[in-house]
């Protein structure tokens, strides 16, 4: 038997030593300091910015104890522990204490355990202090009304200390003991240990999550996301993992006792063996977790295979599902329903449904109550009907199931499987990992787990051809525990109660494509408008923001009422009798499957509200000082309302309520099927968002699976916040995010490579999503800008009216658009099936002053000629940028103009104030982005007597004839060579490889044009996009900082005939690179025979245009100019060159 007194005495002695070691306090101080700094940082971020964007709220330190404190404290301290524990035997030897210790009557196991506790306690106890400190500081900050800081979520603190901290330290210390006993040399031992820790961190970082979890001895990946809504501390597998870690450390201690050099009476073999067995048990348990994950994935693969096998089978068309759902949270789930369905085109003998394999079918009856024979395997419910059913026949069957749905039966084919992500990329955790929740305190029955039968198999499993949405009516009575509230499709009607349940009935007046049910002991806020109950359901602990924002109640209602009324007037009536905004725990997966990974926060009659968004954001800190808003227009109420609006618009995590709620009005009523389904539905959904809320959103779950892309977005939010305040450019974070994401060169490459219908979306799904958004938004913009809000609404309404509950086609869409006066083919060309785009050229842009108006105010004529040199039609508008002293800068958009393929127009307009800059903004064209126009010289004092030109006028389209040969930096003849191929270190190479995705037609590119001046110049040829550089459609140039003349930009071309040729070099506007010194450039021209001619070019004095650089007699054939990075200025720019036959000598 072990003697506790001895153990404790050894432990106490060890603790005494450790507490007197300077390094102990050093490590403690460092880890406390880091945790503290991290907390301040995240608290500040959250406290100050979480009310600006729901995405920022994801970084709430209140729920990030493990990720912040955990990572820092445990990582720092686990390295510290090495240097505390590696000395235990060595110190006795060094301090010549070992013999008196060894000659005392206690066993080696007692010794090892005592020592272990002696190191563990001083390592672990400070964690208790730490969390108390965190709570205390948080509490003080919060109660004293500070804008930042609040106490942390309590269960996450407890699991941090007990489930994460304790086993972590136990494990590390025992490993340190073992290694130092086996490797006596302290230096070798500590290096070995550091390597072990590094290896395990590396494993954690680079392995897929399901494997990494096994290496996660610190337990950082075990905890899931804490929540005030659910009862669970930590997922069960997490708890098992922690227990296994603790067990492993005990086993290792046994082995330590066995290999300890001290002689004792115990049998080394026996102790070692028992220790090894305990370690083996721990390994088996951890292996079990791995096995569990692998089984999950296997199951999913098998289910997916089964789904695919059935994808050609005829599908019943469900018309109505009615019946009863009983929810005993955490325990039992009973479904007792009647399914009415219509037989599809072909006669069928079997009816095929998808139903979660976790639910046992206990009864399956036909309409007369006779049992039907069926098979429920691998999530497929295959019912054999007694008679063959003929087309159009209506059948009702009764289905009763028991058992809780299997949570892995969802999103079977998904571009992102959170288990397979590398953990460095697994920010998807922020979007939730649980497919649905069936917790003691909270239930979220998400449609994707198919707890309600789905007709046929999952959509788009095999290809897009099968795209199909089955709309049906519902009449469900849901039983939830007493006192619970439930949200479902539409209004919650109390339908009595029985012994165990409160019963609520959901029977919305219109069809739904899917049903979600959420239940908990919610706090409710609701009101009714025009027969629709609008309800907000939040956790009882999260009502603070409701109080803070309570004075916007009137505004919110007014907004909702107006939106609903206007929608109704336009024929887009809200289809259901209720709408609920429902809080859900962060752990609930809120992105869907497929390659699209669309948000699933919006469902018929329901919008999910993530716990980390509105419920816990710090609106209180934003509005803690009401005086600040007194003098603002509209006062604090308007400020709050505006903040609330932008808060949801800037939700990049799928919770944009404006676009989300808008889906009810159209896509939840009818959808396009077939191969065009996805893009068409996307456009229609965008249009409903524009009509109902005048906004577009941005959501791509892919960026949560891409390293730190999310952080970048969050940073963007914050940086933009300041930029917007300062620069006065009227751009929102939302639109700049959309632009930044969709204008990435890789996205454009996709867009130019294959059409929306031809592309394989699974190849690079993340880029594909942005391609869809790029093109879909452009199409929607073109329609919406042309038709305006009312007509667009009417267009949507007419399709909805004719197709509610069914599908519509592209030609239905075209017809309905035509009715409103929009010719899709003429305006957009074949946007679905082709990659062709318009290409806009502005050969002339000028302005002159005309006679003053009647009041004597000046008037200016703006006149532009625009050519579309491509065969495909396109849409654009002009934009004018005004700056004035003491006034905010403004960017004003002009009217939308369609330009047919190979056509040209002249556009004139009269303005009373001269803009400072002029832009052409194509909706979608080869020009890619908005570009600045180069205006002809303008004299503000000279009044020109001329006819006023307003509006669009067709002019003949003609390509300018020229004998010149132009080579632009985007042309094929443009390449980069480097005479001195540098041998780069491994790291640089790896980094270069990483960046290859981010090349713009072969060159690295500058994405922040505004910052070119501020940033240093690149040491490699880099592409910049700027309207003030030369280009046919895209205006780009390559540039590099002064070098040694080894890095060259090469322009090659074919000269059609021999003779004398003028070489001209294009100098872009020098202020594209503000503050840079322009000097002499050096080049070599090489002709077909290899003869070399030096070119010296003074870029400082040349005009910002074409400049003659030399005249040469050349043979016909290939001819190249190599422009090197050698200069006496700061910069060399390779924009474009031009060869022209000499006019004469």
């Amino acid at each position: 038997m072990m003697n506790i007194k001895s153990i404790l005495s050894i432990a106490r002695a060890e603790t005494l030593v450790i507490r007197r070691l300077a390094r102990y306090w050093l490590f403690l101080a460092i880890s406390f300091l880091f945790v503290f700094i991290a907390f301040i940082y995240y608290s500040a971020l959250h406290g100050l910015y979480s009310s600006h964007s729901a995405t920022v709220g994801l970084l709430s330190p209140r729920f990030l104890v493990t990720s912040i404190a955990g990572v820092l404290y445990l990582v720092i301290y686990s390295i510290g522990v090495i240097f505390l524990a590696f000395d235990v035997r060595a110190r006795d030897l060094r301090e010549r204490m070992h013999e008196v210790l060894d000659s005392r009557p206690y066993s080696n196991l007692e010794l090892v355990i005592g020592r272990f506790l002696g190191v563990l306690i001083p390592a672990w106890v400070p964690m208790l202090f730490l969390i108390v400190l965190i709570q205390l500081v948080g509490f003080l900050l919060k109660t004293s009304g500070m804008p930042i800081g609040e106490p942390a979520q309590i269960t996450s603190l407890l699991s941090f200390v007990f489930l994460i901290g304790l086993p972590s330290f136990a494990f590390i210390i025992s490993i340190v003991f073992l290694v130092t006993l086996l490797v006596r040399n302290r230096l070798v031992a500590s290096i070995t240990l550091l390597l072990l820790i590094a290896a395990s961190f590396g494993g954690m970082y680079f392995l897929p999550v399901y494997k990494a979890r096994v290496f996660d001895f610190l337990g950082l990946m075990q905890s899931g996301y804490p929540s005030d809504l659910t009862a669970s501390f930590m997922p069960l597998t997490g708890i098992i993992h922690r227990v296994a870690t603790l067990l492993a450390s005990l086993g290792i201690l046994g082995i330590c006792a066995a290999v300890h050099p001290r002689l004792d009476d115990g049998s080394r073999v026996k102790t070692g063996f028992i220790g090894a067995i305990v370690v083996a048990i721990a390994v088996v348990i951890t292996g079990g977790i791995l096995y569990g994950h692998m089984k999950e994935m296997k199951d999913q693969e098998r289910w997916l295979k089964t789904q695919m096998e059935y994808h050609k089978a005829p599908v019943p068309d469900i018309t109505k599902i009615s019946g009863r759902v009983e929810i005993s949270p955490g325990k039992e789930f009973i479904l007792d329903i009647k399914i009415a369905f219509r037989v599809p085109a072909n006669p069928i003998k079997t009816a095929l449904f998808t139903l979660n394999p976790g639910q046992r079918v206990v009864e399956l009856l036909d309409s007369s109550g006779k049992p039907l024979s069926y098979k429920h395997e691998e999530g497929i419910l295959d019912i054999t009907m007694p008679d063959t059913l003929t087309q159009g026949e209506e059948v009702v069957i009764g289905l009763k199931t028991e058992g809780v749905p299997d949570k892995h039966f969802a999103y079977l084919k998904s571009a992102v499987n959170p288990l397979k992500l590398k953990s460095k990329d697994s920010n998807t955790t922020l979007l939730g990992n649980e497919n649905y929740v069936f917790d003691r305190k909270f239930v979220a029955l998400m449609p994707a787990v198919r707890w309600l039968p789905l007709s046929g198999v999952e959509n788009s499993m095999e290809n897009q051809q099968n795209n199909r949405v089955d709309f049906f009516n519902v009449d469900l009575t849901v039983g939830v525990p007493k006192g619970w509230l439930v949200a479902g499709p539409g209004r919650r009607n109390k339908a009595g109660e029985d012994k165990r349940f409160d019963l609520y009935r959901f029977a919305p007046p219109s069809v739904v494509p899917e049903v979600a049910i959420l239940a908990s002991e919610y706090e409710s806020r609701s009101y009714e408008t025009d027969g629709i109950v609008m309800e907000l359901l939040v956790n009882k602990k999260h009502i603070k923001n409701l109080d803070v924002l309570s004075d916007t109640k009137e505004k919110v209602r007014e907004y909702i009422d107006t939106t609903l009324r206007e929608a109704k007037e336009a024929g887009l009536t809200y289809p259901y009798d209720g709408f609920s905004l429902v809080e859900v725990p962060t752990n609930l997966r809120t992105y869907g499957g497929g390659w699209r990974l669309d948000t699933v926060q919006t469902m018929p009659g329901i919008m999910l509200l993530k716990e980390l968004s509105l419920p816990t954001a710090r609106f209180d800190s934003a509005f803690r000082n009401p005086d600040k808003f007194k003098n603002q227009e509209g006062g604090i109420v308007k400020a709050k309302w505006d903040r609330l609006m932008s808060y949801f618009q800037q939700d990049f995590s799928g919770g944009n309520i404006f676009t989300g709620a808008a889906r009810n009005f159209f896509l939840f009523q009818t959808a396009a099927g077939g191969p065009e389904g996805m893009p068409v539905n996307f456009v229609m959904d965008t249009l409903s968002g524009l009509v109902l809320a005048d906004t577009k959103g941005y959501f791509s779950a892919h960026i949560f699976a891409e390293g730190n892309a999310v952080n970048q977005i969050i940073q963007n939010v914050i940086v933009s916040y300041f930029q917007l305040r300062n620069a006065g450019i009227q751009d929102t974070i939302l639109s700049s995010t959309i632009r930044t994401r969709t204008s990435r060169p890789v996205v454009w490459e996709k867009a130019l490579e294959s059409s929306l219908l031809d592309i394989d979306p699974w190849k690079e799904p993340a880029d594909m999503v942005d391609y869809l958004i790029l093109k879909g938004y452009a199409v929607a913009d073109s329609i919406y800008k042309t038709l305006g809000r009312e007509k667009t609404a009417a267009f949507l309404a007419s399709i909805r009216k004719n197709h509610t509950g069914g599908q519509f086609s592209v030609s239905d869409m075209k017809t309905a658009l035509n009715e409103q006066g929009y010719d899709m083919d003429a305006s957009l060309g074949d946007w679905l099936g082709s990659t062709g785009l318009a290409g806009f050229v502005v050969p002339e842009a000028k302005a002159y002053r005309v006679a003053d108006d009647a009041n004597g105010s000046p008037r200016y004529q703006l006149l532009f000629t625009v050519r579309n040199d491509e065969p495909v039609p396109g849409t654009f508008y002009f934009a004018y940028y005004y700056t004035a002293q003491n006034q905010r800068a403004e960017l004003i958009s002009g009217e939308t103009i369609h330009l047919a393929g190979r056509h040209a127009i002249q556009y004139g307009t009269i303005v009373s104030r001269m803009p400072t800059m002029f832009f052409l903004a194509p909706v979608l064209s080869y020009n890619r982005s908005t570009f600045e126009l180069k205006m002809a010289n303008f004299n503000p004092d000279k009044i020109v007597e001329a006819e006023i030109i307003e509006g669009v006028r067709d002019i003949p389209w003609e390509l300018p004839a020229s004998a010149s040969i132009v080579v632009d930096d985007l042309d094929e003849g443009f390449t980069i060579v480097n005479d001195k191929e540098e041998t780069k270190g491994l790291r640089v190479k790896a980094k270069a490889k990483d960046m290859s995705r981010d090349l713009d037609q072969g060159l690295p590119y500058t994405s922040y044009n505004v910052l070119v001046g501020g940033l240093g110049l690149p040491a490699e040829w880099t592409r910049i996009s700027n309207g003030m550089t030369y280009g046919k459609y895209r205006h780009t140039a390559a540039y590099i900082k002064r070098g040694e003349g080894t890095k060259k930009a090469v322009f090659s071309s074919e000269l059609p005939q021999s003779g004398t040729w003028d070489l001209e070099i294009y100098i872009p506007m020098r202020n594209v690179f503000p503050g840079k010194k322009w000097g002499r450039w050096h080049g070599v021209v090489i002709d077909r025979n290899g003869d070399r001619h030096q070119v010296e070019f003074d870029s400082k004095t040349g005009t910002e245009e074409w400049n003659l650089a030399g005249k040469y007699d050349f043979p016909q054939g290939k001819c190249t100019l190599e422009l090197s990075d050698l200069t006496d200025g700061d910069i060399v720019v390779a924009d474009a060159i031009r060869w022209t036959p000499s006019a004469g000598k």
């Binding site: 005494l16 030593v17 110190r91 010549r96 013999e99 008196v100 000659s103 005392r104 009557p105 206690y106």
Partner: protein
């Protein structure tokens, strides 16, 4: 357990110990030790410490058996360890601990589990070794002598039936030595004390039984008187003119005295022969007896070695 009542003894039976890759440190030794202060004399490297470690169950003898208070030191270490207190030759303590903390910890580990009893005992023993004043000081601030005394204290803390002290007087000042000798004599009344030393004077009057060890072998076992008796005829006095004793390979000088311009030296003969002008002494001291014994012993060894070689 009963060990306390019985008269306790240590029995060393045909013990041999060979360190890895070395000559035998103990080369066949049998010895029974009973209550009282037992002196273990021998030059450096004789094997004293090795034997003590074996008795303390810190080292497994290569051959032979050691029984301590009825328990085998290899099979019943816990019992053996309960019985003894050990002061190793090069004792030191955790530098960062306070004196009382070291004692407290070691006391608990020796079975003094009752807190108040232990505290009282720690105070008592600190008093006994004269460290009470420094009980709050950290070990790293103690002088060498204080550390030694702390070593004695830790060995005595649990009032063991057997006390094994290895060269305990190294580093003590003369006063401390006297004090230490007295303490040993007192403690030796009702327990076994094995005290190893190469300084004969340290044994003091309390020692009635001793062993002489050389090169791993027991060379002598008996009372100090017996050893002195053996030495008669090997210790001489030589009176010399001048004030310097000439070194000689015939004898070893033990002491020297100046008297009226003459030097009187006491010597121990190496070869057992009487050196020129020497007068045999009839009352050799224990130290002289030890030296005489060792001297003759080394000659014997050399002779034996010669025999083997030839």
């Amino acid at each position: 357990m009963g060990e306390r009542e019985r008269d306790i003894s240590i029995s060393i039976q045909k013990v041999r110990h060979v360190y890895k890759g070395g000559n035998p440190a103990i080369n066949g030794m049998s010895l029974d030790i009973h209550t009282g202060l037992f002196g273990m004399l021998g030059p450096n490297g004789a094997g004293k410490s090795t034997l003590m470690r074996i008795i303390c169950s810190l080292l497994v003898p290569t051959e032979g058996r050691v029984i301590v208070g009825g328990h085998d030191v290899v099979k019943e270490r816990r019992h053996v360890r309960r019985l003894l207190g050990y002061l190793p030759q090069d004792f030191n303590a955790w530098r960062l601990h306070r004196v009382e903390e070291v004692l407290g910890t070691l006391a608990t580990l020796s079975g003094l589990e009752n807190n108040s009893e232990r505290r009282a005992r720690v105070a008592e023993i600190l008093e006994l070794v004269g460290l009470l004043d420094v009980s709050h000081r950290k070990v790293k601030s103690l002088s060498g002598g204080m550390v030694r005394r702390l070593g004695v204290a830790q060995a005595l803390i649990h009032d063991p039936k057997i006390l094994i002290v290895d060269e305990p007087t190294v580093g003590l000042d003369p006063e401390e030595r006297i004090h230490f000798r007295q303490l040993m004599a007192k403690l030796g009344k009702d327990r076994i004390i094995i005290l190893s030393t190469h300084i004969v004077g340290d044994l003091g009057a309390g020692c009635h039984d001793l062993a002489l060890i050389d090169r791993g072998r027991l060379e002598f076992r008996g009372s100090p008187e017996k050893l002195i008796a053996h030495a008669k005829g090997f210790v001489f006095e030589i009176h010399m003119e001048g004030n310097r004793a000439e070194p000689s390979d015939q004898y070893e000088v033990v002491s020297q005295e100046q008297k009226l311009g003459r030097t009187i030296i006491r010597v121990v003969s190496r070869m057992g022969e009487i050196p020129d002008g020497a007068v045999p002494v009839d009352n050799p001291t224990l130290e002289e007896a030890y030296l005489a014994f060792m001297a003759s012993n080394s000659v014997k060894q050399a002779v034996k070695g010669g025999e083997v070689q030839s």
